[in-house]
Point group: C2
DNA sequence: ACAAACAAACACGCAAGCCTGTTCTTACGG
DNA sequence: CCGTAAGAACAGGCTTGCGTGTTTGTTTGT
């Protein structure tokens, strides 16, 4: 209302911008409020458009959700490829990649994933729509790791085990973080893990001082989510359930 | 209706039985349908009591949920202690404990956990009520592992790192399982992990043939959830969003 | 002019919480 | 030993809030 009055965008521009705003807003709502508290009116508010615009571009809440997740994983995939390109083939230290993966996952990617995994578990059509999306992401992940291990002369299969274990470990750590907020604990475990990886992948112990590129997902810069207070929290009897 | 007409239970018995039925039904609903699809009418139906009985014993859905999770973790804790008692101190092979943890977590415990973790993340009071409950569980976990490692002469801190890593790995594997159902993949990773643990904990490679006690949580015998079709799945326009 | 893009109000379903009424258990008096 | 009253345990209907999907109306671009 009464802003700079945007000059005559083309239809395609209008369309794409609105959709992009909605996708981004959806991911943010998903991260900040969780899937159950994420409502379409709130998404529209965040995106700065009306709810009507939302329903015009996305037939259902679930459609919007799927597209948002795809968008998020595309961002992450792009970031991975960028990281690979940033390092000439033989120079990427394993620590750099692990740290990057951690920042990426703990920086919001896996928090968001934890929001929709239960839904995927109980909603078969939704799950099916997600499968190709996550497969593409994991392919990019695998490519990074394989390239790194190929330089070290590690057999592909062995390398994949260590990658998969690394990812699972990170997932488990982030899950635990919900009920155990203890940064030092996770930092120590991650360091320990990197030492193990060094051993398996045969890189010597003198890793670079990890010149990490800033996380690609600027939207997820906050490690600890805002934990905004609940809108829907209602007054409850104070009786403790007995 | 015309069943054997239960004979004059005492008030306490009535109370405890109904509460127990509700707690168990809640956990089952949580596992089979997920937190969002889990409704109090359905829980009452599963438990074979009326919804009025449910609201009489539990002031709110959240109260019921908290008590159910506490009940579930108590079962798991008891199972852990039982496992420890089943093995004379120096005889428990690391494989047995890891397998037990896997069966316990993958058999339902962590699926259920994944259902309420997002809620805990966004609902501070709920999270606070959960903290002491999970702490007790982890204490039992820690006791089992420490005892095992003490026999092997491993420093407590080192042992704890390997326990925590094991648990995180298992969590991450189960999370991934939602979108990648591939038993062989997880079996291989777990075997690989057990070999690593052997090395760190200094046990020789000739482990016993793991005479695992049956999982305590009989309710979670199914590894793959029934994946029952969605009650709430509604007709949607077939238009693919956009 | 026409259609795409957006806005706002409406309608439906649903689940949680609440309230009222009924059955069972127990304590107490005869 | 029985009858009875009080309270706990249970059953079922009602109400309200809310979020989605839908529809109708308005603006912007071609």
């Amino acid at each position: 209302m009464m802003t700079v009055m945007p000059r005559r965008r083309t239809q395609e521009e209008r369309r794409e911008e609105t959709r992009a705003r909605l996708l981004r807003a959806t991911v943010e709502a998903l991260r900040d409020q969780g899937l159950t508290r994420m409502t379409t009116p709130d998404i529209a508010r965040r995106a700065g458009v009306s709810r009507g615009a939302l329903t015009y571009h996305f037939a259902s809440r679930e459609d919007l959700l799927v597209d948002s997740i795809a968008w998020l994983l595309d961002q992450a995939t792009a970031g991975l490829r960028k990281l690979c390109d940033a390092y000439p083939a033989p120079t990427m230290p394993i620590e750099a990649l692990v740290d990057y993966l951690w920042d990426m996952m703990a920086g919001g990617l896996f928090q968001v994933t934890m929001e929709f995994l239960p839904e995927a578990r109980h909603n078969a059509p939704f799950r099916e729509r997600l499968l190709p999306v996550v497969r593409e992401f994991h392919a990019a992940l695998d490519a990074s790791w394989t390239r790194l291990s190929a330089v070290a002369g590690i057999p592909r299969e062995e390398a994949q085990v260590s990658l998969n274990a690394t990812m699972c470990l990170i997932r488990g750590m982030i899950a635990q973080n919900v009920l155990r907020n203890d940064p030092a604990y996770y930092a120590a475990m991650l360091d320990w893990w990197k030492r193990q990886l060094r051993g398996w992948l045969g890189q010597d112990a003198g890793g670079a001082a990890r010149p990490l590129p800033a996380p690609i997902l600027a939207a997820f810069a906050v490690a600890e989510p805002p934990r905004q207070r609940l809108v829907r929290e209602r007054a409850r009897r104070q009786a403790g359930g007995g």
